[in-house]
Symmetry: C2
Subunit: 222 residues, 2 copies
DNA sequence: TTAAAAAGTTAGACTATTCTAACAAATTAA
DNA sequence: TTAATTTGTTAGAATAGTCTAACTTTTTAA
Protein backbone atom coordinates (compact mmCIF):
# COMPACT_ATOMS: atom_id res chain seq x y z
CA UNK A 1 0.00 0.00 0.00
CA UNK A 2 1.02 3.56 -0.64
CA UNK A 3 1.00 6.28 1.92
CA UNK A 4 -1.18 9.32 1.47
CA UNK A 5 1.91 11.26 0.48
CA UNK A 6 2.91 8.72 -2.12
CA UNK A 7 -0.62 8.76 -3.53
CA UNK A 8 -0.42 12.50 -3.98
CA UNK A 9 2.86 12.22 -5.82
CA UNK A 10 1.49 9.51 -8.09
CA UNK A 11 -1.61 11.50 -8.90
CA UNK A 12 0.44 14.56 -9.83
CA UNK A 13 2.89 12.58 -11.90
CA UNK A 14 -0.01 11.13 -13.83
CA UNK A 15 -1.60 14.50 -14.46
CA UNK A 16 1.62 16.22 -15.49
CA UNK A 17 2.89 13.41 -17.68
CA UNK A 18 -0.36 12.84 -19.57
CA UNK A 19 0.70 14.85 -22.59
CA UNK A 20 4.32 13.82 -23.08
CA UNK A 21 4.53 10.69 -20.99
CA UNK A 22 7.00 12.21 -18.57
CA UNK A 23 7.45 14.92 -15.95
CA UNK A 24 10.49 16.69 -14.66
CA UNK A 25 11.47 17.01 -11.05
CA UNK A 26 11.10 20.78 -11.22
CA UNK A 27 7.53 20.62 -12.52
CA UNK A 28 6.50 18.12 -9.91
CA UNK A 29 8.13 20.17 -7.19
CA UNK A 30 6.23 23.26 -8.28
CA UNK A 31 2.92 21.43 -8.53
CA UNK A 32 3.25 19.85 -5.11
CA UNK A 33 4.77 22.88 -3.45
CA UNK A 34 7.70 20.87 -2.33
CA UNK A 35 11.39 21.47 -2.85
CA UNK A 36 13.29 19.63 -5.57
CA UNK A 37 15.50 17.54 -3.29
CA UNK A 38 12.41 16.20 -1.56
CA UNK A 39 10.91 15.20 -4.88
CA UNK A 40 14.20 13.65 -5.84
CA UNK A 41 14.30 11.38 -2.82
CA UNK A 42 10.65 10.43 -3.21
CA UNK A 43 11.37 9.42 -6.80
CA UNK A 44 14.10 7.11 -5.57
CA UNK A 45 11.61 5.53 -3.22
CA UNK A 46 8.88 5.19 -5.85
CA UNK A 47 11.42 3.74 -8.25
CA UNK A 48 12.30 1.07 -5.66
CA UNK A 49 8.61 0.34 -5.39
CA UNK A 50 8.42 -0.02 -9.18
CA UNK A 51 5.84 2.72 -9.41
CA UNK A 52 7.98 5.02 -11.53
CA UNK A 53 10.84 4.52 -13.94
CA UNK A 54 13.46 7.05 -13.05
CA UNK A 55 17.03 7.65 -14.15
CA UNK A 56 19.05 10.60 -12.78
CA UNK A 57 18.77 13.72 -14.92
CA UNK A 58 16.04 12.09 -16.99
CA UNK A 59 12.31 12.55 -16.85
CA UNK A 60 9.98 10.65 -14.53
CA UNK A 61 7.52 8.14 -16.02
CA UNK A 62 4.94 5.97 -14.37
CA UNK A 63 5.30 2.22 -14.84
CA UNK A 64 2.22 0.17 -15.68
CA UNK A 65 1.82 -0.48 -12.00
CA UNK A 66 2.07 3.25 -11.32
CA UNK A 67 -0.53 4.08 -13.95
CA UNK A 68 -2.91 1.59 -12.47
CA UNK A 69 -2.52 3.18 -9.08
CA UNK A 70 -2.94 6.67 -10.51
CA UNK A 71 -6.15 5.69 -12.25
CA UNK A 72 -7.49 4.19 -9.08
CA UNK A 73 -6.84 7.43 -7.19
CA UNK A 74 -8.36 9.52 -9.96
CA UNK A 75 -11.39 7.29 -9.99
CA UNK A 76 -11.86 7.77 -6.27
CA UNK A 77 -11.40 11.52 -6.57
CA UNK A 78 -13.90 11.95 -9.38
CA UNK A 79 -16.45 9.63 -7.85
CA UNK A 80 -16.15 11.57 -4.62
CA UNK A 81 -16.62 14.90 -6.38
CA UNK A 82 -19.65 13.69 -8.22
CA UNK A 83 -21.05 12.22 -5.03
CA UNK A 84 -20.55 15.44 -3.12
CA UNK A 85 -22.35 17.39 -5.83
CA UNK A 86 -25.12 15.00 -6.76
CA UNK A 87 -25.92 13.30 -3.50
CA UNK A 88 -24.80 15.81 -0.92
CA UNK A 89 -25.74 18.79 -3.03
CA UNK A 90 -22.60 20.76 -2.37
CA UNK A 91 -21.43 23.34 -4.87
CA UNK A 92 -18.81 22.48 -7.47
CA UNK A 93 -16.49 25.12 -6.16
CA UNK A 94 -16.42 23.75 -2.63
CA UNK A 95 -16.10 20.11 -3.54
CA UNK A 96 -12.53 19.76 -4.70
CA UNK A 97 -10.80 20.07 -1.34
CA UNK A 98 -13.10 17.55 0.27
CA UNK A 99 -12.65 15.07 -2.57
CA UNK A 100 -8.92 15.54 -2.16
CA UNK A 101 -9.33 14.03 1.29
CA UNK A 102 -11.95 11.43 0.48
CA UNK A 103 -9.87 9.98 -2.35
CA UNK A 104 -7.53 8.51 0.24
CA UNK A 105 -10.23 6.63 2.13
CA UNK A 106 -9.36 2.97 2.03
CA UNK A 107 -12.60 1.08 1.49
CA UNK A 108 -13.83 -0.66 -1.61
CA UNK A 109 -17.38 -0.71 -0.28
CA UNK A 110 -17.44 3.05 0.21
CA UNK A 111 -16.58 3.64 -3.41
CA UNK A 112 -18.68 0.88 -4.90
CA UNK A 113 -21.71 2.27 -3.10
CA UNK A 114 -20.99 5.74 -4.46
CA UNK A 115 -20.66 4.21 -7.88
CA UNK A 116 -24.02 2.48 -7.52
CA UNK A 117 -25.76 5.54 -6.13
CA UNK A 118 -24.50 7.56 -9.07
CA UNK A 119 -25.54 4.87 -11.56
CA UNK A 120 -21.97 3.98 -12.60
CA UNK A 121 -21.11 7.32 -14.16
CA UNK A 122 -18.52 7.38 -16.92
CA UNK A 123 -17.85 11.08 -16.70
CA UNK A 124 -17.95 13.67 -14.04
CA UNK A 125 -20.00 16.77 -14.83
CA UNK A 126 -16.85 18.56 -15.99
CA UNK A 127 -16.79 15.95 -18.73
CA UNK A 128 -13.69 14.34 -17.25
CA UNK A 129 -13.79 10.57 -17.56
CA UNK A 130 -14.07 8.43 -14.43
CA UNK A 131 -11.92 5.30 -14.76
CA UNK A 132 -13.84 2.11 -13.98
CA UNK A 133 -12.77 -0.20 -11.19
CA UNK A 134 -10.31 -1.91 -13.54
CA UNK A 135 -8.69 1.40 -14.33
CA UNK A 136 -10.20 1.46 -17.76
CA UNK A 137 -10.94 4.89 -19.12
CA UNK A 138 -13.57 5.62 -21.66
CA UNK A 139 -11.38 7.27 -24.22
CA UNK A 140 -13.65 7.36 -27.19
CA UNK A 141 -14.31 10.80 -28.51
CA UNK A 142 -17.53 12.17 -27.15
CA UNK A 143 -19.72 14.88 -28.51
CA UNK A 144 -22.81 16.43 -27.16
CA UNK A 145 -25.84 15.23 -29.09
CA UNK A 146 -26.48 18.88 -29.81
CA UNK A 147 -23.25 18.98 -31.83
CA UNK A 148 -23.62 15.72 -33.73
CA UNK A 149 -23.67 16.21 -37.50
CA UNK A 150 -26.81 15.28 -39.40
CA UNK A 151 -26.76 11.77 -40.75
CA UNK A 152 -24.30 10.38 -38.21
CA UNK A 153 -25.08 7.45 -35.97
CA UNK A 154 -23.85 7.49 -32.40
CA UNK A 155 -24.23 5.67 -29.11
CA UNK A 156 -25.51 7.38 -25.99
CA UNK A 157 -22.56 7.20 -23.60
CA UNK A 158 -23.51 9.35 -20.65
CA UNK A 159 -25.72 12.14 -19.57
CA UNK A 160 -24.54 15.39 -18.09
CA UNK A 161 -27.33 15.44 -15.56
CA UNK A 162 -28.18 12.72 -13.17
CA UNK A 163 -31.34 14.27 -11.81
CA UNK A 164 -34.27 11.98 -11.67
CA UNK A 165 -36.48 14.33 -13.65
CA UNK A 166 -34.00 14.35 -16.50
CA UNK A 167 -33.60 10.61 -16.52
CA UNK A 168 -37.37 10.24 -16.33
CA UNK A 169 -37.67 12.46 -19.36
CA UNK A 170 -35.27 10.32 -21.36
CA UNK A 171 -37.09 7.23 -20.24
CA UNK A 172 -40.38 8.65 -21.37
CA UNK A 173 -38.77 9.28 -24.75
CA UNK A 174 -37.63 5.69 -24.83
CA UNK A 175 -33.92 6.49 -24.64
CA UNK A 176 -31.34 4.69 -22.54
CA UNK A 177 -27.60 4.80 -22.10
CA UNK A 178 -26.08 2.46 -24.67
CA UNK A 179 -28.76 3.05 -27.29
CA UNK A 180 -27.70 3.81 -30.86
CA UNK A 181 -29.34 6.81 -32.48
CA UNK A 182 -29.02 8.45 -35.86
CA UNK A 183 -29.41 12.16 -36.17
CA UNK A 184 -32.00 12.68 -38.86
CA UNK A 185 -32.51 16.40 -38.72
CA UNK A 186 -31.58 19.45 -36.68
CA UNK A 187 -33.91 22.42 -36.77
CA UNK A 188 -31.82 25.53 -37.36
CA UNK A 189 -34.40 27.68 -35.63
CA UNK A 190 -34.41 26.19 -32.13
CA UNK A 191 -31.70 23.54 -32.30
CA UNK A 192 -34.11 20.71 -31.61
CA UNK A 193 -33.13 17.37 -33.11
CA UNK A 194 -34.98 14.45 -34.61
CA UNK A 195 -33.45 11.06 -33.94
CA UNK A 196 -33.92 7.70 -35.52
CA UNK A 197 -33.91 5.11 -32.76
CA UNK A 198 -33.32 1.39 -32.86
CA UNK A 199 -36.96 1.01 -31.91
CA UNK A 200 -37.58 2.40 -35.40
CA UNK A 201 -39.39 5.30 -33.84
CA UNK A 202 -38.43 8.88 -34.49
CA UNK A 203 -37.72 10.87 -31.36
CA UNK A 204 -37.73 14.63 -31.04
CA UNK A 205 -35.54 16.28 -28.41
CA UNK A 206 -35.23 19.96 -27.58
CA UNK A 207 -31.82 21.56 -27.73
CA UNK A 208 -31.85 21.87 -23.96
CA UNK A 209 -32.13 18.11 -23.61
CA UNK A 210 -29.81 17.23 -26.50
CA UNK A 211 -26.92 19.22 -25.13
CA UNK A 212 -26.98 17.22 -21.92
CA UNK A 213 -26.55 13.91 -23.72
CA UNK A 214 -23.05 12.68 -24.53
CA UNK A 215 -22.66 10.40 -27.51
CA UNK A 216 -19.88 8.50 -29.21
CA UNK A 217 -19.85 8.39 -32.95
CA UNK A 218 -20.01 4.78 -34.11
CA UNK A 219 -20.65 5.05 -37.82
CA UNK A 220 -19.89 7.86 -40.21
CA UNK A 221 -21.41 8.35 -43.63
CA UNK A 222 -19.38 6.46 -46.18
CA UNK B 1 -4.72 21.88 14.28
CA UNK B 2 -4.06 18.36 15.40
CA UNK B 3 -2.60 15.63 13.30
CA UNK B 4 -4.56 12.51 12.55
CA UNK B 5 -2.48 10.68 15.11
CA UNK B 6 -3.15 13.25 17.78
CA UNK B 7 -6.86 13.09 17.05
CA UNK B 8 -6.82 9.36 17.59
CA UNK B 9 -5.09 9.75 20.92
CA UNK B 10 -7.56 12.42 22.02
CA UNK B 11 -10.54 10.32 21.06
CA UNK B 12 -9.24 7.34 23.01
CA UNK B 13 -8.38 9.41 26.04
CA UNK B 14 -11.90 10.75 26.05
CA UNK B 15 -13.47 7.33 25.79
CA UNK B 16 -11.27 5.73 28.44
CA UNK B 17 -11.51 8.59 30.91
CA UNK B 18 -15.28 9.03 30.72
CA UNK B 19 -15.96 7.07 33.88
CA UNK B 20 -13.24 8.25 36.25
CA UNK B 21 -12.00 11.39 34.54
CA UNK B 22 -8.57 9.95 33.89
CA UNK B 23 -6.72 7.25 31.98
CA UNK B 24 -3.38 5.60 32.60
CA UNK B 25 -0.57 5.31 30.12
CA UNK B 26 -0.87 1.54 30.13
CA UNK B 27 -4.58 1.57 29.28
CA UNK B 28 -4.10 4.03 26.47
CA UNK B 29 -1.18 2.02 25.11
CA UNK B 30 -3.26 -1.12 25.08
CA UNK B 31 -6.25 0.58 23.43
CA UNK B 32 -4.16 2.16 20.68
CA UNK B 33 -1.87 -0.81 20.20
CA UNK B 34 1.12 1.31 20.82
CA UNK B 35 3.95 0.85 23.29
CA UNK B 36 4.00 2.76 26.56
CA UNK B 37 7.04 4.90 25.78
CA UNK B 38 5.35 6.16 22.63
CA UNK B 39 2.27 7.09 24.59
CA UNK B 40 4.46 8.74 27.14
CA UNK B 41 6.11 11.03 24.62
CA UNK B 42 2.82 11.84 22.95
CA UNK B 43 1.43 12.85 26.33
CA UNK B 44 4.30 15.28 26.73
CA UNK B 45 3.43 16.77 23.38
CA UNK B 46 -0.29 16.99 24.09
CA UNK B 47 0.50 18.54 27.45
CA UNK B 48 2.56 21.23 25.72
CA UNK B 49 -0.42 21.84 23.46
CA UNK B 50 -2.64 22.17 26.55
CA UNK B 51 -4.84 19.35 25.38
CA UNK B 52 -4.14 17.14 28.38
CA UNK B 53 -3.06 17.75 31.94
CA UNK B 54 -0.31 15.32 32.68
CA UNK B 55 2.12 14.87 35.54
CA UNK B 56 4.62 12.02 35.54
CA UNK B 57 3.34 8.86 37.22
CA UNK B 58 -0.12 10.39 37.47
CA UNK B 59 -3.18 9.80 35.34
CA UNK B 60 -3.92 11.61 32.11
CA UNK B 61 -6.87 14.01 31.97
CA UNK B 62 -8.21 16.08 29.11
CA UNK B 63 -8.28 19.82 29.62
CA UNK B 64 -11.38 21.78 28.63
CA UNK B 65 -9.73 22.41 25.30
CA UNK B 66 -9.02 18.70 24.93
CA UNK B 67 -12.60 17.76 25.77
CA UNK B 68 -13.89 20.15 23.16
CA UNK B 69 -11.64 18.58 20.55
CA UNK B 70 -12.66 15.09 21.60
CA UNK B 71 -16.33 15.94 21.28
CA UNK B 72 -15.78 17.39 17.87
CA UNK B 73 -14.09 14.20 16.69
CA UNK B 74 -16.79 12.03 18.21
CA UNK B 75 -19.43 14.16 16.54
CA UNK B 76 -17.77 13.67 13.18
CA UNK B 77 -17.41 9.94 13.73
CA UNK B 78 -21.02 9.40 14.76
CA UNK B 79 -22.41 11.63 12.04
CA UNK B 80 -20.32 9.73 9.51
CA UNK B 81 -21.54 6.37 10.78
CA UNK B 82 -25.13 7.46 10.65
CA UNK B 83 -24.62 8.89 7.20
CA UNK B 84 -23.04 5.72 5.91
CA UNK B 85 -25.94 3.68 7.23
CA UNK B 86 -28.86 5.94 6.46
CA UNK B 87 -27.80 7.66 3.28
CA UNK B 88 -25.37 5.21 1.75
CA UNK B 89 -27.20 2.18 3.07
CA UNK B 90 -24.14 0.35 4.25
CA UNK B 91 -24.47 -2.21 7.01
CA UNK B 92 -23.71 -1.29 10.61
CA UNK B 93 -20.98 -3.85 10.81
CA UNK B 94 -19.02 -2.46 7.87
CA UNK B 95 -19.38 1.19 8.75
CA UNK B 96 -17.04 1.67 11.67
CA UNK B 97 -13.75 1.46 9.80
CA UNK B 98 -14.89 3.91 7.16
CA UNK B 99 -16.15 6.38 9.75
CA UNK B 100 -12.80 6.04 11.46
CA UNK B 101 -11.29 7.58 8.33
CA UNK B 102 -14.04 10.06 7.54
CA UNK B 103 -13.89 11.54 11.02
CA UNK B 104 -10.57 13.13 10.11
CA UNK B 105 -11.86 14.94 7.05
CA UNK B 106 -11.32 18.63 7.55
CA UNK B 107 -14.40 20.40 6.21
CA UNK B 108 -17.18 22.07 8.12
CA UNK B 109 -19.45 21.98 5.08
CA UNK B 110 -19.08 18.25 4.67
CA UNK B 111 -20.31 17.66 8.18
CA UNK B 112 -22.98 20.32 8.25
CA UNK B 113 -24.50 18.83 5.10
CA UNK B 114 -24.49 15.38 6.68
CA UNK B 115 -26.14 16.90 9.71
CA UNK B 116 -28.84 18.48 7.55
CA UNK B 117 -29.40 15.37 5.46
CA UNK B 118 -29.88 13.38 8.65
CA UNK B 119 -32.21 15.99 10.14
CA UNK B 120 -29.85 17.01 12.94
CA UNK B 121 -29.84 13.70 14.76
CA UNK B 122 -29.17 13.72 18.50
CA UNK B 123 -28.35 10.05 18.72
CA UNK B 124 -26.89 7.46 16.49
CA UNK B 125 -28.89 4.27 16.09
CA UNK B 126 -26.81 2.62 18.79
CA UNK B 127 -28.37 5.20 21.08
CA UNK B 128 -25.02 6.97 21.50
CA UNK B 129 -25.44 10.73 21.64
CA UNK B 130 -24.05 12.88 18.82
CA UNK B 131 -22.53 16.09 20.22
CA UNK B 132 -23.84 19.20 18.48
CA UNK B 133 -21.50 21.56 16.67
CA UNK B 134 -20.77 23.36 19.95
CA UNK B 135 -19.73 20.12 21.54
CA UNK B 136 -22.87 19.97 23.60
CA UNK B 137 -24.09 16.51 24.39
CA UNK B 138 -27.62 15.65 25.10
CA UNK B 139 -27.06 14.11 28.47
CA UNK B 140 -30.56 13.74 29.76
CA UNK B 141 -31.50 10.21 30.55
CA UNK B 142 -33.32 8.65 27.65
CA UNK B 143 -35.58 5.68 27.62
CA UNK B 144 -37.31 3.96 24.84
CA UNK B 145 -41.02 4.75 24.92
CA UNK B 146 -41.52 1.03 25.16
CA UNK B 147 -39.82 1.07 28.56
CA UNK B 148 -41.47 4.18 30.02
CA UNK B 149 -43.40 3.43 33.20
CA UNK B 150 -47.16 3.95 33.19
CA UNK B 151 -48.21 7.38 34.38
CA UNK B 152 -44.94 9.14 33.52
CA UNK B 153 -44.76 12.12 31.22
CA UNK B 154 -41.86 12.42 28.80
CA UNK B 155 -40.69 14.39 25.81
CA UNK B 156 -39.97 12.78 22.48
CA UNK B 157 -36.25 13.36 21.97
CA UNK B 158 -35.29 11.31 18.96
CA UNK B 159 -36.28 8.37 16.88
CA UNK B 160 -34.17 5.37 16.21
CA UNK B 161 -35.21 5.20 12.57
CA UNK B 162 -34.96 7.98 10.11
CA UNK B 163 -36.80 6.23 7.32
CA UNK B 164 -39.46 8.28 5.66
CA UNK B 165 -42.11 5.64 6.19
CA UNK B 166 -41.48 5.66 9.92
CA UNK B 167 -41.55 9.43 10.16
CA UNK B 168 -44.70 9.47 8.05
CA UNK B 169 -46.30 7.05 10.44
CA UNK B 170 -45.53 9.27 13.42
CA UNK B 171 -46.81 12.24 11.53
CA UNK B 172 -50.03 10.47 10.78
CA UNK B 173 -50.36 9.75 14.48
CA UNK B 174 -49.83 13.46 15.16
CA UNK B 175 -46.49 12.98 16.94
CA UNK B 176 -43.41 15.11 16.51
CA UNK B 177 -40.00 15.38 18.09
CA UNK B 178 -40.30 17.69 21.06
CA UNK B 179 -43.87 16.69 21.92
CA UNK B 180 -44.74 15.80 25.48
CA UNK B 181 -46.63 12.58 26.01
CA UNK B 182 -47.95 10.78 29.06
CA UNK B 183 -48.03 7.03 29.09
CA UNK B 184 -51.56 6.09 30.05
CA UNK B 185 -51.51 2.36 29.65
CA UNK B 186 -49.35 -0.45 28.40
CA UNK B 187 -51.03 -3.63 27.24
CA UNK B 188 -49.21 -6.55 28.79
CA UNK B 189 -50.29 -8.81 25.99
CA UNK B 190 -48.66 -7.12 23.00
CA UNK B 191 -46.70 -4.25 24.53
CA UNK B 192 -48.71 -1.61 22.72
CA UNK B 193 -49.02 1.70 24.55
CA UNK B 194 -51.69 4.35 24.87
CA UNK B 195 -50.42 7.90 25.11
CA UNK B 196 -52.02 11.09 26.25
CA UNK B 197 -50.86 13.82 23.91
CA UNK B 198 -50.81 17.59 24.33
CA UNK B 199 -53.45 17.69 21.61
CA UNK B 200 -55.66 16.02 24.27
CA UNK B 201 -56.06 13.06 21.98
CA UNK B 202 -55.19 9.56 22.99
CA UNK B 203 -52.75 7.85 20.68
CA UNK B 204 -52.15 4.14 20.38
CA UNK B 205 -48.76 2.87 19.25
CA UNK B 206 -47.66 -0.70 18.70
CA UNK B 207 -44.67 -2.00 20.60
CA UNK B 208 -42.72 -2.06 17.35
CA UNK B 209 -43.18 1.65 16.94
CA UNK B 210 -42.81 2.58 20.60
CA UNK B 211 -39.44 0.92 20.93
CA UNK B 212 -38.04 3.12 18.19
CA UNK B 213 -38.98 6.33 19.97
CA UNK B 214 -36.58 7.81 22.50
CA UNK B 215 -38.02 9.95 25.25
CA UNK B 216 -36.76 11.97 28.16
CA UNK B 217 -38.70 11.85 31.37
CA UNK B 218 -39.83 15.34 32.29
CA UNK B 219 -42.32 14.78 35.13
CA UNK B 220 -42.63 11.95 37.57
CA UNK B 221 -45.65 11.14 39.65
CA UNK B 222 -45.51 12.95 42.95
C1' DT C 1 7.09 -3.94 55.58
C1' DT C 2 9.84 -5.39 52.14
C1' DA C 3 10.26 -7.88 47.69
C1' DA C 4 7.94 -8.97 43.40
C1' DA C 5 4.93 -7.17 39.90
C1' DA C 6 3.00 -3.52 37.46
C1' DA C 7 3.33 0.91 35.62
C1' DG C 8 5.97 4.73 33.95
C1' DT C 9 10.16 6.97 32.23
C1' DT C 10 14.66 7.86 29.68
C1' DA C 11 17.82 7.14 26.18
C1' DG C 12 18.80 6.05 21.78
C1' DA C 13 17.57 4.35 17.28
C1' DC C 14 14.73 4.04 12.92
C1' DT C 15 11.38 5.39 9.09
C1' DA C 16 8.81 8.84 6.50
C1' DT C 17 8.88 13.50 4.87
C1' DT C 18 10.64 17.57 4.36
C1' DC C 19 14.20 21.32 4.32
C1' DT C 20 18.70 24.11 3.31
C1' DA C 21 23.28 24.43 1.56
C1' DA C 22 26.43 23.17 -1.66
C1' DC C 23 27.80 20.99 -5.73
C1' DA C 24 27.10 18.81 -10.59
C1' DA C 25 25.02 18.26 -15.14
C1' DA C 26 22.45 20.01 -18.93
C1' DT C 27 20.65 23.68 -21.52
C1' DT C 28 20.60 28.14 -23.42
C1' DA C 29 22.24 32.24 -25.16
C1' DA C 30 25.51 35.53 -26.44
C1' DT D 1 31.44 27.25 -27.78
C1' DT D 2 32.00 28.91 -23.46
C1' DA D 3 29.62 31.26 -19.70
C1' DA D 4 25.30 31.92 -17.46
C1' DT D 5 21.09 29.82 -16.22
C1' DT D 6 18.28 26.16 -15.16
C1' DT D 7 17.76 21.68 -13.45
C1' DG D 8 19.03 17.94 -10.69
C1' DT D 9 21.70 15.64 -7.03
C1' DT D 10 24.10 14.84 -2.46
C1' DA D 11 24.78 15.61 2.20
C1' DG D 12 23.15 16.66 6.45
C1' DA D 13 19.58 18.19 9.56
C1' DA D 14 14.75 18.50 11.52
C1' DT D 15 10.06 16.79 12.97
C1' DA D 16 6.48 13.32 13.81
C1' DG D 17 5.73 8.87 15.38
C1' DT D 18 7.23 4.58 16.84
C1' DC D 19 10.23 1.01 18.81
C1' DT D 20 13.52 -1.66 22.15
C1' DA D 21 16.43 -1.81 26.13
C1' DA D 22 17.33 -0.39 30.46
C1' DC D 23 16.05 1.80 34.32
C1' DT D 24 12.81 3.97 38.25
C1' DT D 25 8.43 4.51 40.80
C1' DT D 26 4.40 2.72 42.63
C1' DT D 27 1.54 -0.84 43.98
C1' DT D 28 0.51 -5.19 45.67
C1' DA D 29 0.93 -9.05 48.27
C1' DA D 30 3.25 -12.42 51.00
Amino acid sequence: MDSLTEENYIKSIYALSLATGEVFVSELAKKLNIKQPSVNSMMKRLATKKVVAYAPYKGIRLTEKGKKEALSIIRRHRLAELFLVKVMELGWEEVHDIAEQLEHVDSKRFYSRMDEMLHFPKFDPHGEPIPDSNGKIYTQKRTSLSDLAEGLTATIAAVGEDEKSFLDHLNAKGLQIGDAVTLKKREPFDGSVTLQHKSKKEILLTHQVAERIWVEVTFTRS
